[in-house]
Symmetry: C2
Subunit: 195 residues, 2 copies
Amino acid sequence: MAPAIAGAFFTAYNQAMIILGIDPGLRTTGFGVIHKQGTKLRYIASGTIKSGEGDLPTRLKVILDSVAELTVTYQPDCAAIEKVFVNVNPQSTLLLGQARGAAICGLMSATLTVAEYSPTQIKQAVTGTGKAAKEQVQDMVARLLALPGLPGSDAADALGVAICHANAQGALAAIASTAGPSGFALHMKRGRLVG
Amino acid sequence: MAPAIAGAFFTAYNQAMIILGIDPGLRTTGFGVIHKQGTKLRYIASGTIKSGEGDLPTRLKVILDSVAELTVTYQPDCAAIEKVFVNVNPQSTLLLGQARGAAICGLMSATLTVAEYSPTQIKQAVTGTGKAAKEQVQDMVARLLALPGLPGSDAADALGVAICHANAQGALAAIASTAGPSGFALHMKRGRLVG
């Protein structure tokens, strides 16, 4: 059995995949697209979606349609989205929640699996510390993806969540090559490990 | 000019329209469909969408798809959705926001105009007082639409927001038949009056 498991591990670990990362917001939604093969990450695209000055339903529609369009343009294999902070202002929390709902709907319209990571998880994955400053994240994202300059803050966060997902996929593939407590091999489901 | 304006008013006021009302929630989303002609309201359908036990993206997709399906089934001319309460628990507010975002996206996927009303506006429209109890709303919705029995609480709220929109359309049509402060006739845009 050992060679077969090792072979399966190598395949899962080395499998090329395109990851779409999203940093949701009502005014500005950041996106980042990366290519992962083994431990090698390559930058594909990044940018922001501006929802404009319309009323709330119109702005949510802009987010929905733009995220759906990204899935068509870049044909990602999976998506990852940042878990948002609960704002001190409940009304802002409600608005941010609606924007995040629209972004997730855009991803789900392409029947992508959507993994969720907290800001701390993303900072940890990108900089090695969960308490990194925004500038550190931008700087490390630029280094990890060999970018010629610093990405904007929203795009950097979106690339960061994509990198975080790439790392998690690598780590999970490594763990998945061992048997779970039930005696059956573990496998991944929506970025989580199930026994 | 006077007869033309009066004629336009009568047309707008008397125009038959189907209104889809939505009471958003992460677990249960209520919906209600009514037909309006002049002051006459007729019940078409109501019920609830259950998002199930999946993870958050899956549940948002259920809401998105189910609301979009309602727009295909009932072919509404416009939609109205309840403005949600800000919960004491910020995490619940965030979840409710995401569910509401998904419901609005479902409506917008059919390029419907979406009007928003607060719980107080809805209670006022249905019962005559903004402080009515849930049971009063259910009872008055049943009376106004001549239902054989009381609708469930979520469905009653959804029918309530549809009735609220029907009343607002009637009132706005009446106001719109007069000239605005700019000297130009007022007209309605997304359930609001613009000069």
